[in-house]
């Protein structure tokens, strides 16, 4: 594996509550290499999106704050930079693709103007050269009629086309790292397949890093090189994609995989999988392992002690006292 583009360790994020600051994301470790896709997997509220927003220095706008961590981007610590450095980092260092392009795009500006703004802001084009550059980006992201998209308002485009505009805008500042937050969740499956293909081509062609935030393990299997699973604000497992799908080590990962309906059910129709119970509330975390109340492999130690993220095989980390070992899910 090449040297990582991004090496983040120990990220902690806290949100304000009436009772004081409450830590909701704890000790998150994330490594992304150039030309690789890292899948950040987890269910609603596990801290995936906050992790991404923290990487863009967005906490000041959101009311929460980062309380710890270090993120080396080309050897430079992002979390040590000042506001001006963050400004130029966003867009030119890393850029984000949001889930719902209709609400992420400005409805009163044409798609062309919004994209041109980014090229101009990062000094990559003057006012006159911006249009040519945007049309080139629109062509690269596979918009069927770039000239139409240039003068179209977001509502005039289909969902898939809007997402292509979003991707073009994310690429406008020539970033080295893309963060895609559920980029295909709002799309139909056939369009989803096209967008996934486009993301993969983009990452390969530009040797960028991509952090794909998703709850869809099918999508992650298609696109990712590395998988990082989060649960209740913590990373519980991180592994390369092939060993992860061959046999997840954390019982939560195994539960997620077992919840997937398979197209041709090899498993008998009797079992639907799923995980009993609900994610604990941040204010009410169990004292030991956070997954212990729902875990089928729970032991005495799990209820009292917190497991740490341990390397059980080269490049494979798991936060569990009783990890599964390679057996099929």
């Amino acid at each position: 594996m090449s040297a990582p583009l991004l090496d983040m360790t120990g990220l902690c994020v806290a949100v304000p509550t009436p009772g004081g600051w409450l830590t909701v994301v704890e000790d998150v470790r994330l490594r992304v290499a150039a030309g690789k896709v890292c899948g950040l997997i987890g269910e609603s509220g596990c801290g995936k999106t906050m992790t991404a927003l923290a990487l863009l220095g967005m906490e000041g706008f959101q009311g929460w704050r980062r309380t710890g961590g270090r993120a080396l981007f080309y050897g430079r610590d992002l979390f040590a930079q000042d506001a001006a450095a963050w400004r130029s980092f966003r867009g030119a260092g890393a850029a984000m693709i949001f889930q719902e392009p209709l609400s992420a795009l400005n409805p009163v500006l044409t798609c062309g103007r919004q994209a041109a703004e980014i090229c101009i802001a990062h000094g990559l084009a003057g006012k006159t050269g911006a249009k040519a550059r945007v049309l080139e980006l629109f062509t690269q992201t596979g918009l069927p009629d770039p000239d139409f998209a240039w003068s179209a308002y977001p509502f005039e485009l289909s969902g898939g086309q809007r997402q292509r505009v979003m991707i073009a805008m994310a690429l406008a500042g020539e970033p080295k790292l893309l963060l895609a937050d559920e980029p295909t969740t709002a799309l139909d499956v056939t369009i989803q397949a096209q967008i996934l293909r486009l993301l993969r081509q983009t990452v390969d062609a530009r040797a960028m890093g991509l952090i794909l935030i998703t709850h869809n393990l099918g999508v992650a299997a298609q696109l990712c090189d590395e998988i990082v699973v989060m649960y209740a604000g913590e990373v519980v497992e991180s592994a390369d994609v092939f060993s992860f799908y061959a046999g997840p080590a954390h019982p939560y990962s195994a539960g997620l995989l077992a919840s997937l309906p398979s197209r041709a059910p090899e498993r008998p129709a009797a079992g639907f999988g799923g995980i009993e119970g609900t994610v604990p509330a941040p204010a009410n975390m169990p004292p030991g392992c956070r997954f212990a109340p729902r875990c089928p492999r729970v032991g005495e130690v799990c209820r009292t002690q917190r497991p740490v993220l341990t390397e059980i095989a080269p490049g494979r980390f798991v936060r569990c006292f009783f990890p599964l070992t390679g057996e099929a899910p």
């Binding site: 609603s44 499956v189 056939t190 397949a193 709850h215 092939f242 995980i275």
Partner: protein, 283 residues
């Protein structure tokens, strides 16, 4: 007893067009065009298709929440195509719907107990207070919710619990036909799996018939007996779920199946998506 719970024959639904220049008429927008569909008693019939294919319109017509422009709708042997509101209100308890987004379907000002009691407030369905309370407890148990949540408001419930509450409410009047409009699409996978298990269990315990609207073919494989595939307001393929999924006869069904991401990184080469921009099916 009739074998078919619901029959649609040649159903067409068109909405008036918009945005025509003054003095001319905009072409009407056809949502459903010549749909024939039979949902047999006791089966889970999946209705699959992409956004805008007409799945939800068909669901609303099946419950006669809207009237068709042409064609015939028969519910349990009775022609309800032109049934009056009065005739329909007698049938309403037997046909219910569960929506995709439980947060939008529940009144934020109603506790779970109040939401479950509301069906019994209608004239003719009145029950004494203590019986309503008992029924609410029974419904909570049926939907796998702890009784302690009766006093909870929707914002205090998790997404999965909210959807269970919607299901419980839909069952309040002992229906025999449910339209499930993307009931698990808004839920996390581990929660969705539990809800699907609940729906399968309720079907066999209460002899229910479902029209299951979904865009997710993997759900169909897990749960459904029959599947109808919709494209541009038409049904292009109908058959037993396992047969259709194993050997789709319509190219659109095959395209949908091929586009489904498979949770196996070793099979990613099979992923289509083609050269961008790929063809949008309905264009």
């Amino acid at each position: 007893m009739n074998a078919a719970m619901l029959e649609l024959a040649g159903v067409r639904k068109a909405y008036p067009g918009k945005g025509a220049p003054l003095g001319s008429r905009a072409p009407e927008r056809v949502a459903l065009d010549g749909v024939d569909l039979t949902v047999n008693r006791g089966e889970i019939h999946a209705l699959v298709g992409e956004s805008g294919s007409g799945k939800s319109t068909l669901g609303r017509l099946a419950l006669r929440l809207e009237a068709p422009s042409a064609g015939r709708i028969v519910f349990d042997g009775r022609d309800i195509t032109r049934a009056s509101e009065k005739e329909l209100s007698a049938l309403r308890p037997r046909m219910q719907i569960v929506f995709q987004d439980p947060s939008g379907a529940l009144d934020p000002r109603y506790s779970a107990a109040e939401a479950l009691a509301e069906p019994f407030l209608a004239p003719g369905r009145f029950l004494p207070k203590n019986e309503v309370k008992n029924r609410a407890v029974e419904l909570m148990r049926l939907a796998g919710l702890p009784e302690s949540l009766l006093a909870a408001y929707p914002h205090q419930l998790s997404g999965g619990q909210r959807q269970r509450l919607c299901i419980a409410r839909a069952l309040a009047l002992n229906p025999d036909f449910l339209v499930l409009d993307e009931p698990v699409s808004a839920l996390d996978v581990s929660v969705a799996a539990r809800i699907l298990a609940l729906l399968a269990d309720l079907r066999s315990r209460l002899n229910l018939t479902y029209l299951f609207i979904t865009h997710d073919l993997s759900v169909v494989a897990r749960l459904c007996d029959t599947v109808s595939v919709m494209l541009q307001g038409r049904i292009v393929e109908t058959g037993p779920a396992q047969c259709v999924l194993a050997a789709p006869s319509h190219p659109y069904t095959a395209g949908l199946l091929a586009a489904m991401p498979v949770a196996n990184p070793r099979r990613r080469e099979e992923m289509p998506g083609g050269s961008a921009p790929g063809p949008r099916w309905e264009r």
